[in-house]
């Protein structure tokens, strides 16, 4: 019998509001502990919550982006449990009436097909603070800066069948929320955290198996590893005739080990009930339409447009359209050089290589889209060749040539990288190379005509060397061939 993996995700996405969901305190990350917690966040006696409209607008934006039903009446409920970093002793969340109802996203699979993943719901809630167990000599420090930060909890249907699909879904949601500008999506700061529900069943069976939940996976890599690990664990148990215990698990990405956190029996009874301090949130079609009008272009639409407008391949369009920063960079560079394929190759190649090895986001690239575009324009108009262009890019990356426009031209000028396109000058260099390489010329002459093409490389290299890389390679190639073939006759 073959096993089928069933995966559902709960994603906690921190919304990019300036202030907290129920108080006026700042949500900025990284401040001194407890400096961004006001009376409401500290749950001082007598304090009351006031709902932040911006969190509502962001949630509705998300709902519209995934083609979901928007809750015209959504209700905040209290989820009651005791924990030191939960100041009120309850988390204000949504239960029966979430702001976002059933929706869906499409993910692209490796075999080129598209799969639709259902989103059950997305609801608004407040984040808890942080318990700090180190540095307090056996005691626990409480930092309430994060308490009350707005979260959108996005719950998927159990529609995914592999770790790869789960990651593709999570990445799609990530690209949607960052494109909408409703979250910075910064996983290292906890702005985008995934809980993964995994179960196994025999292929073809309808009933779901018993699931486990692995919590707080804060990178796509950890998520993929954790799922694979959990699938293996469950498979081992089931194949040994055992049973899966419904439980919550914690995965440590550094040690690659997961452990049980609590079983179903130990789970809290959260005693949800509607929060009497907050009125139901009522919105109408006008409100929803006004938000719809502010929706930016979304990744799927942009993907399609990149293929149509720029003639990009499905794959290239997919890579370049996922994030608005990347897409904008590509489009600006294309505008400058008027060659989308060239721009696509450079953004996905040289630029992305440099960004990755320096762990930089494209928004922080030292080479601006304009600069890269102008550099590419010089390839396009034959001012430089591709090899020289890489030198110019290196120089731009290091900040040479100044930061402004014309930086690429300045570097080309300073380094003398302009391509030699004067046929006379190239022919002279070719003649010199041929004269100095009698044995190779003889080999060339002796070779079968169809094998001569391969032998051209040696002469190409010599000529390019002689030109210090500035000769137009196309021209060199053409002239070399003519001259060598003439010798064979």
């Amino acid at each position: 019998m073959e096993w089928e993996t069933v995966i559902g995700l709960e994603i906690h996405c921190q919304l990019a509001t300036d202030s907290k969901i129920f108080s006026g305190a700042s949500t900025a990350f990284g401040a001194e502990p407890n400096t961004q917690a006001c009376a409401v966040d500290l749950a001082l006696p007598g304090t009351l919550p006031v709902f932040n409209d911006n969190a509502l607008k962001m949630a509705v934006k998300f709902g519209l982006a995934i083609d979901a039903q928007i809750g015209k009446k959504s209700v905040f409920a209290r989820k009651n449990y005791f924990y030191p970093d939960l100041p009120k002793g309850y988390q204000t969340s949504q239960m029966d009436d979430p702001i976002v109802g059933i929706g869906h996203v499409d993910i692209q699979l490796k075999d080129g097909t598209t799969k639709r993943v259902g989103v059950t719901r997305a609801h608004l809630e407040e984040d808890a603070g942080k318990s700090l167990h180190e540095d307090y000599h056996g005691m626990t420090g409480i930092d309430l800066n994060r308490a009350g930060t707005p979260l959108l909890e996005i719950v998927s249907e159990p529609d995914m069948r592999s770790a790869e699909e789960a990651v593709a879904y999570a990445k799609k949601i990530h690209s949607i929320v960052t494109n909408l500008g409703i979250s910075d999506g910064d996983m290292s700061q906890g702005s985008f955290r995934c809980d993964v529900n995994v179960s196994l069943r025999y292929k073809g069976e309808e009933e779901f198996g018993t699931r486990t939940e692995t919590k707080n996976l804060n990178s796509f890599k950890f998520m993929e590893d954790a799922i694979k690990l959990e699938v293996e664990r469950q498979m081992d148990i089931l194949e040994d005739g055992g049973e899966i215990t419904q439980e919550t698990r914690l995965y440590n990405g550094d040690t690659k080990v997961a452990r049980s956190m609590r079983s179903k029996e130990e789970a809290n009874d959260y005693r949800y009930f509607p929060c009497p301090d907050l009125l139901p949130v009522m919105i109408d079609d006008d409100f929803i339409d006004a938000i719809r009008a502010t929706l930016p272009e979304l990744p799927d639409a942009r993907h399609q447009r990149f293929m149509e407008q720029y003639g990009l391949s499905d794959y290239d369009a997919g890579v370049l359209s996922g994030y608005s920063d990347t897409a904008a960079y590509f489009e600006t560079a294309t505008e400058q050089c008027d060659d989308a394929k060239l721009a696509a190759n450079w953004v996905m190649g040289e630029l992305s290589k440099h960004l990755n090895s320096n762990s930089l986001e494209i928004a922080d690239s030292p080479v601006s889209a304009e600069q890269l575009g102008q550099l590419l324009a010089r390839i396009k108009d034959d001012t430089i060749n591709g090899k020289a262009a890489k030198q110019v890019f290196e120089a731009l990356w290091k900040g040479e040539g100044g930061n402004g426009e014309g930086a690429a031209d300045a570097i080309i000028e300073a380094k003398g990288l302009k391509q030699v396109t004067d046929s006379g000058a190239i022919e002279a260099m070719i003649d010199e190379v041929i004269a100095a390489a009698t044995p190779q010329v003889e080999q060339y002459k002796a070779a079968e005509p169809e094998k001569r093409g391969k032998m051209l490389g040696f002469f190409m290299g010599k000529v390019m060397q002689a030109s210090k890389g500035t000769a137009n390679p196309g021209q060199v190639n053409k002239l070399l061939k003519t001259k060598l073939d003439a010798l064979c006759d």
Binding site: G46, T47, P87, G89, D277, L279
Partner: protein, 483 residues
């Protein structure tokens, strides 16, 4: 000076008969000497009061006075007061110095009123007798062997004993009206949402409402003028214009239609309360009102519904008292669970623990539908009863309580008997309506309250109806013999 009403004191301050400092000092002296008999204050704020009085005198001299500038009052110890212990009658907050002002406190500060101190109350406002206070019960000035009612028993006792002309209270199931009735004063619970709850320590959020307690309806109007209004910090407060509650006090009552719910005049009611209330109704007829019997058929359900909804909300509201950030923390906790269990076990009194347990139970998985949701359905039925009744009448009247003040300790071992004392007041909270209690006579020498229930936001009308009665009668002027 202590026999003057708020209105008379405001008048005296305005025309320079005395200064706020003189007045404040004289009342502080009186509280210091007399309150040992009533235990109506938890904290007396001498220094702050005198500083506020000095500032008020400056304002009065500068011609910048508001109606209550320089008038001393007191606040129930449930309203957070910046720099002052705000205990909510609990050991849990005995060491809690509030770092901010409740919106109500802020409003009185802006008006220039002087805060003499914080009054005694049932712990976390849970009680009908003031006996659940960590600071010991406040005592009824009419008979100090008896309770002043609760939970705003300290405010009621202080006003009845002429220690303060007026005080704030809060009312979740009758906590302003019942003690007002039992101590012979006038108290008003406004419409839910009329007075900000921000900074008022929550008992049951969907029922709690702050309001004034004074000797006359006229004084309650002056107080409500300061307290009422929309507060952006309280999402349940209502954005609606605030009328001048003093403006229409003297409007004639000709044509006023009074509804008398038959359910409020049957069952276990003290006969002397029955007759005092009947006499008051006759007085209203003499003032031009007509009377009609009505029915509020779900009255009997209000206590069970209330004792699900209020404890459910309370069980959640009181979770924040965990010993982590402020308030009481048990000695030398061994671990987190020990910290929680002993902090809450030692910090809360019996009645609070009883209600937390009831509420936790009612919200638990498997019981939620049977208790909490059913109670909410009953709540809607009770609201509909009132909506139907108000189609025919302008105001509903009946006794505020079935019995006069009971003896200290009489009902402490029988919580249900205690809860039943609130049968006439609770439904008003469940329906979110405004209600008043005014003194209308005596039963066995103890004050009797008449409850007036109005339509939503009909506070001005209620005050007018109460004031006209007080113009025609002198029950509200009666003081305990040794006061």
């Amino acid at each position: 000076m202590h026999n003057k009403t708020l209105a008379e004191l405001a008048q005296g301050l305005a025309n320079g008969a005395f200064s706020s400092v003189e007045l404040t000092q004289s009342l502080l002296d009186r509280i210091t000497t007399e309150d040992s008999r009533y235990n109506s204050f938890i904290s007396i704020t001498h220094a702050q009061a005198l500083a506020q009085a000095e500032a008020a005198d400056v304002r009065i001299k500068a011609g910048d006075a508001a109606p209550l500038t320089g008038v001393p009052i007191a606040h129930k110890d449930i309203f957070c007061t910046d720099g002052v212990r705000t205990s909510c009658g609990s050991k849990m907050l005995d060491n809690f110095i509030a770092p901010y002002n409740a919106t109500v406190i802020e409003a009185f500060n802006r008006a220039g009123a002087v805060n003499l101190g914080k009054t005694n109350m049932d712990e976390f406002a849970m009680g009908s007798s003031n006996e659940s206070s960590f600071y010991g019960p406040a005592l009824n000035p009419w008979d100090t062997d008896r309770v002043p009612g609760g939970s705003s028993g300290g405010s009621a006792a202080a006003v009845a004993a002429r220690l303060v002309p007026a005080a704030t209270g809060t009312d979740t199931g009758g906590s302003i009206r019942q003690p007002a009735a039992l101590t012979g004063i006038t108290g008003l619970k406004p419409t839910y949402g009329r007075v900000s709850r921000y900074g008022m320590i929550a008992f049951a959020s969907s029922l709690d409402q702050g309001g004034p307690m004074a000797r006359t309806a006229e004084d309650c109007a002056l107080m409500l003028n300061v307290m009422a209004g929309f507060d952006p910090k309280d999402s349940t407060s209502i954005e609606r214009d605030v009328p001048d509650y003093s403006a229409d006090l003297d409007k004639p009552l000709d044509g006023l239609k009074i509804g008398l719910p038959k359910e409020y005049f049957s069952g276990d009611i003290d006969p002397e309360i029955q007759s005092a209330v009947q006499d008051a109704i006759k007085q209203y007829e003499a003032l031009g009102a007509t009377v009609k019997e009505i029915s509020l058929p779900n009255t009997q359900l209000c206590i069970p519904a209330y004792y699900i909804i209020a404890p459910a909300e309370a069980s959640s509201n009181l979770s924040r008292f965990d010993g982590v950030r402020y308030g009481y923390r048990c000695e030398d906790p061994q671990d987190l669970e020990d910290l929680y269990k002993r902090t809450r076990g030692e910090g809360f009194g019996d009645e609070v623990k009883r209600r937390i347990m009831i509420g936790t139970y009612a919200l638990s998985a498997g019981y939620y539908d049977a208790y909490y949701l059913k109670a909410q359905r009953i709540r809607r039925l009770i609201q509909q009863d009132f909506v139907a009744a108000f189609n025919d009448v302008d105001v509903i009247m009946g006794p505020t309580t079935p019995h006069p003040a009971f003896k200290i300790g009489e009902k402490t071992n029988d919580p249900v008997a205690m809860y039943l004392e609130d049968i006439f007041t609770i439904s008003v909270n469940l329906a979110g309506l405004p209600g008043m209690s005014i003194p209308v006579g005596f039963a066995n020498g103890l004050p009797v309250g008449l409850q007036l229930i109005g339509k939503h936001f009909d506070e001005a009308r209620l005050l007018n109806i109460a004031h006209k009665f007080q113009q025609a009668t002198d029950w509200h002027t009666k003081a305990p013999s040794d006061v």
